[in-house]
Amino acid sequence: MWRHPYSGMTCYGISSNPDSRIRKYEGHNGFNVKWDYLISGSQEHIDALENDLKAFVKKLGVGFDEYEWIQKDVGYASIVDTVEYLSQGKSFKKIISD
């Protein structure tokens, strides 16, 4: 996950290569980007977590368009809490969790 410093929105997603993904973000934004929250796990567990999060974001209408972005009105800390809540019972390795 990464919180955009200017728009205030939070993006989330799955990548098999986070280094490559972050370079793409930097290319699109024109400034340095660092992940705010990064975890790794099996494809099944990561997919399940993203599907759960995406489903709630859609149901609650807090996404930005159809993209994997959460609106700025949603507190970032509560997004992290949600991810950890939805991660219960799944095996993840935390890499960055500021």
Binding site: S42, Q43, E44, H45, D47, A48, L49, N51, D52, A55, F56, K59, L60, V62, I70, Q71, D73, V74, G75, S78, I79, D81, T82, Y85, L86, G89, K90, S91
Partner: protein, 407 residues
């Protein structure tokens, strides 16, 4: 300044809402459901509020009509007509479906549930539609309702209808020369067009298996039906309710809600619904397992349902009544695949990899599910030093779990 939304609070509230909705639907059942009779006008208004497809369709029709409008007489009329005056246009209609009539219609035949046949009327004086000769008496050509009229004819032949004189059959009639706006065909051409239109997928949307099962279950619980299909569906529905689960339609959002199973046809097939082999014991074990361990999944998807149902079926076939550690097995499913959707995606990937290696066309089959689960479970128990307990050996294990996978 807008207030900050706490996503976790909102998610938990949403989860509670979903749980309450499921409990409400289960507790309400179908017996206390109010407002079950709704005017067509209100149904359409509701549909128009929920989408614009009907409106778009109306616009297309308006374009085709070019400013003209239909009148009531353009719809034909309903009448009781002599069965002996009805001719089937065999260039248009199907043959008499002997098996369908014998196995599907007659065992549950009810004269009130016969639909009007669709006919074109040729009065005396009109030209015969095939020979072109002037008709001396009225005749009707039937373009739909062949199985209905054939069934009634058979009942007459076998003396199951008491009759004094002619049998008159319900019919939806259009006159041979009736013209309507937006169309340049009449008579048998309308019949030919009508046959495929009324019977094809363009005009008749197949009813979702969920609604059939609901009708069957309601047959028993609301109307005291003793039909086997109704009794079986009611038993299944009640078993699901008792375990905080419900069937769901294959379309719409309900199937993605916790506690819902949309694979009604799979459930019926696995339980041997409406047969003498109807097996509620295995069905209940399946439902109990899914309810106990996967009640938070976003619905139980078809392939996961089939996998668990077949797992319990295999146990029954192999007389495994004790020794299966269901809690440990459920934990394994969660550790390995995360949830039912995760298992389905995993099984599909693994099967396709195997099919690619074998050089055969990729195609999904539920047969691979239990072999993959059991093989993974055995590995999981070994890796985690767990007592495996009793597990069934799937008959098709070697077809899906073999050395070819590792080539």
């Amino acid at each position: 300044m807008s207030s900050v939304i706490n996503l976790l609070d909102a998610v938990k509230e949403q989860e509670k809402l979903q749980k309450d909705n499921l409990a409400f639907k289960i507790n309400r059942g179908n017996q206390k459901a109010g407002d079950t009779l709704v005017k067509i006008e209100d149904l359409v208004k509701q549909a128009l509020d929920n989408g614009n497809e009907i409106e778009n369709g109306v616009e297309k029709l308006q374009d085709r009509l070019g400013g003209m409008k239909y009148k009531p007489e353009h719809f034909g009329y309903v009448a009781m007509i002599k069965l002996s005056s009805v001719y089937s246009n065999i260039d248009i209609q199907r043959i008499v479906e002997q098996g369908f009539i014998g196995k599907n219609i007659l065992p549950i035949f009810d004269p009130r549930i016969t639909q009007p046949i669709n006919v074109v009327r040729y009065p005396a004086g009109a030209l015969h539609p095939i020979t072109g000769k002037k008709l001396t008496e009225e005749m009707f050509t039937a373009w739909d309702g062949q199985q209905t009229s054939s069934t009634i004819e058979a009942l007459l032949m076998f003396g199951l209808i008491e009759l004094d004189g002619e049998f008159y059959i319900k019919a939806n009639v259009i006159d041979y020369d009736l013209e309507v706006p937006g169309s340049d065909i009449t008579g048998e051409a309308v019949a030919n067009f009508g046959f495929r239109t009324i019977n094809g997928t363009k005009a008749k949307k197949p009813v979702d298996p969920y609604y059939v099962m609901r009708s069957e279950a309601n047959g028993k619980r609301l109307y005291g039906s003793t039909l086997q299909e109704d009794v079986h569906s009611d038993a299944m529905w009640s078993c699901m309710e008792a375990n905080n689960m419900l069937p769901a339609p294959t379309t719409g959002t309900e199937k993605k809600l916790p506690g819902h199973v949309a694979h009604v046809s799979g459930m019926k097939s696995m339980v041997s619904h409406d047969t003498e082999n109807f097996d509620m014991v295995t069905f209940e074990k399946t439902i109990k397992f899914l309810s106990a361990y996967f009640d938070k999944d976003n619905g139980i998807n078809s392939s996961f349902y089939m996998a668990i149902a077949e797992l319990f079926q295999n146990m029954k076939d192999q007389d495994i009544t004790v020794g299966f550690n269901d809690a440990q097995f459920a934990q394994f499913v969660k550790d390995k695949y995360a949830n039912g959707d995760g298992f389905s995606a995993y099984a599909k990937r693994r099967l396709y990899q195997l099919q690619d290696k074998l050089g055969v066309k990729r195609s999904w089959t539920d047969s691979c599910s239990v072999p993959y689960m059991i093989s993974d479970y055995i590995e999981y128990c070994e890796e985690n030093n767990l007592e495996q307990g009793k597990v069934p050996m799937p008959p098709k294990m070697s077809q899906y779990v073999n050395l070819v996978e590792k080539v």
